[in-house]
Amino acid sequence: MSDPVTALNGATFNAGIASVAEVPLQGMITLRGDLSAAAIQKAATVTIPGDMPTAGRARIEGENGVAWMSPDEALVLCPYADVSAVLEKMQKTLGNSRALAVDVSDARASFRISGPHAREVLAKLCPVDLSPAVFTSGMFRRTRMAQVPAAIWLSDTDCLQVISFRSQAQYVFDLLVVAAQPGSSVDLY
């Protein structure tokens, strides 16, 4: 089998007020189930043992993590190559629980926006208060990015990460490039 590729083959843009880079393939599993149930929580945190994050939050370390998507949906992150193994482990953990776990790694595209103006770049596209006092580490916000859905979180100081649908990767990348164009800093945060 060939090597899998991302939607944009790792496109980057570094000539603006922030750096934009498509992130390499990331394992992602959608888990549907009642997140208040212990077995579901255990399956959701299979790649990052610990508590299930509360509403609007995520725990992500490197390529592993879990994000709260809705009361009956979590997004489980793991290395791309491990998806099958993680899915299997989750199924075992779930047992007979009513749940649906499905690989969506190839259905997504991820981007990293970094630099001192990274927050501003996203604040041009998302109707979300991204000021440092309000949008803090550990938050995971599903929102609108211009005309498409996206999920954003702060992966490090001055570094934001975005997940979009794979088919919209080019649009999202182009949006980020326009929003990061030279001379467009807002100098607000």
Binding site: S70, P127, V128
Partner: protein, 109 residues
């Protein structure tokens, strides 16, 4: 442009993150129902000047449907609540009565 708070995920966001879904608390009439009941279910809608109960979906967020009680003239939002119910919560009805004495909507008041 409205701001709404999704009662499911707790996010307060602007209207563009939501999608309106028409009147709330409709009762489905399926096969075997009378023409009158079916007509009522399919076509007859409230269009009040004042208190209204409506459906919204947090389309760019958690994806869940919820209900909102809103004034159609001032756009005041009295409250939002999850969609898995046949009627608005009691405390919300009390709040509306306080703010809009004498209000009525279908068989609520």
């Amino acid at each position: 442009m409205l701001i709404l708070t999704c009662p499911v995920c707790g996010v307060t966001a602007e209207e563009t993150e939501f999608h309106g879904g028409g009147e709330a608390h409709l009762k489905r009439h399926g096969p075997g129902s009378s023409d009158e009941n079916f007509e009522e279910y399919l076509f007859m809608r409230e269009n009040p000047r004042g208190v209204h109960f409506e459906r919204w979906r947090h389309v760019y967020g958690c994806g869940k449907w919820f209900h909102a009680a809103r004034c159609t003239t001032t756009l005041e939002v009295f409250g939002t609540y999850p969609a898995q119910t046949y009627e608005p919560p009691k405390d919300l009805l009390a709040k509306i009565s306080k703010k809009r004495p004498g209000w009525a909507w279908r068989d609520l008041a």
